[in-house]
Subunit: 302 residues, 2 copies
């Protein structure tokens, strides 16, 4: 049996001070069993996206380290940046990758929420698959009003936190913790400079416009290349898969006499998303991912 | 840096006596660092294909175990079976999978050849990428005459072995050891019962008929399903890739008014073959396999 892989992508409200980010990095790298897959600081957002992977225990241990270092250095009372935020550690999604279920990630989010409150006195809202009520499912609703409006917002019983008392941590606000499927950032480039073509296709494929349920998309001009792009967030590739979205965009583009020039995956992609793509286009019958040599070897390693 | 993965697929001349195969299995499973991915015995061939994976040291240790057990039980003087064979351990190909080059597998084949001769007094011919001369590249040429003709064949200086003296081991004959790319057994099913369509397409795509250099193919009727099949051995998927062969078969089938119903991968497939397929059909630009989440994690593990 291969080991469990859960991804965790905390976003912290610090993207400028490299010495603080180095300290965060060191603490995470020293955590046993935890893999630090990436840190992407953004100066104008003053925010860093951290990508971690491991099993439940390693992730909880890493999160404690992350909170300890971040709370020591980040004070939202003096924090500025373009990106909306509610907390010093702003959001903490857990994502099942291999040998892990959504339910396990929901449990893990609750365990993390309880630890964050007990050890750091930061109140926690649960979101996405871990949400305690439908109106807390989406991050923007919870984050509305930001840190500056949080004390007031929490007085409303409808916004009592899931863990902790209804008062923000003085410098660290609150955290939003939850579980969600892996997200794939995926762009499809079209052989035209007419951005309206990309706009219309984006509207046709995205959930809000009547398209695929787990697709968010918008049209973007790539002026230096003379192309346009359908820029996509695939928020659940198991249910709205990569290959179907690609084929739909290709077909829609034909409507405008336009070809797909290329597509690109930005950042990390779960292996299954690509295996399922190969499976689809090759019209495979009874393909089993354990036929992948490397996966078979990994299974034998545990 | 992820660890090295080399595959090794020894074929032994025993496919009937389960107690012997159990002993082989036990010896291989006890070898440290070695992964036994599969054992496929064939009674009518009286032969078993064994799939191993590991680094160079683990594979050499496993091979010694395999020779010790096989030579104890298999005597070719009384061996019968439909499949041609030269030795008790008949062929031993080494196959680079990850963080391993063809050159390293050639070196490993030579090291194995030397050990097989020194420890077991079985003479060894090198073949495929490890061949010492062009006329020894292909297995059928070396194996021609089989065990029964081997003593005579070896008297010809042109057939002096690469390791050992020109005399067969009395009961174990000789072994053919080498290095080759991974082989993918791949079938494409066509929506017709006309086997001549599969035959013609097989001829069009296979090397011998003017087709792709690293493709062997033949037409087969699947009578119970009322379909025909182009049955393919992809002997170098890096140079004659899966997606191109699939698309060519699909196009050729149209010539006969026939559709591809499905395709199937038989047994194991290297991950890269499927990642390259997804890359091709999605028209990805600047895709790097290290973007695969699980691969990134594996890289960090070493």
């Amino acid at each position: 049996m291969a080991s469990q892989i859960i991804e965790c992508v905390p976003n912290i409200s610090e993207g400028r001070r490299s010495e603080v980010l180095e300290e965060v990095k060191g603490a995470l790298e020293r955590t046993a069993g935890l893999k630090l897959l990436g840190m992407s600081p953004d100066g104008s957002h003053n925010r860093t996206v951290i990508t971690l992977a491991g099993d439940a225990d390693a992730l909880l241990a890493g999160l404690e380290e992350l909170y300890a270092v971040t709370l020591k250095h980040v004070d939202l009372r003096s924090h500025t940046g373009e990106h909306p935020r509610l907390g010093a550690v702003d959001v903490v999604p857990f994502i099942p990758i291999r040998n892990a279920t959504t339910e396990e990630c929901v449990e893990l989010a609750k365990k993390a929420g309880s630890i964050i409150w007990e050890k750091f006195r930061v109140p926690v809202y649960l979101y996405e698959d871990a949400a305690s009520r439908p109106d807390r499912k989406e991050l923007p609703a919870i984050r509305k009003g930001q840190f500056e409006g949080l004390a007031e917002k929490m007085k409303d019983p409808a916004w009592a936190p899931d863990f902790g008392t209804p008062e923000p941590h003085p410098s660290a606000g609150a955290s939003v913790v939850g579980a969600r499927p892996p997200l794939i950032a995926y762009n499809i480039n079209l052989g035209t400079n007419r951005v309206e073509v990309a706009d219309r296709i984006a509207k046709a494929i995205r959930h809000i416009g009547g398209g695929y349920r787990f697709v968010r998309a918008m049209g973007v001009a790539l002026e230096d290349r003379g192309l346009v792009q359908v820029s996509i967030n695939m928020v659940n590739y198991k249910k709205s898969p990569l290959f179907r979205v690609f084929e739909t965009v290709k077909r829609e583009a034909q409507r405008y006499g336009v070809n797909v020039v290329s597509s690109e995956i930005v950042g990390l992609v779960p292996e299954d998303a690509l295996l399922e793509t190969a499976d689809y286009f090759l019209q495979l019958e009874s393909f089993d991912p354990s036929q992948v040599l490397e996966r078979k070897i990994a299974e034998l390693e545990q």
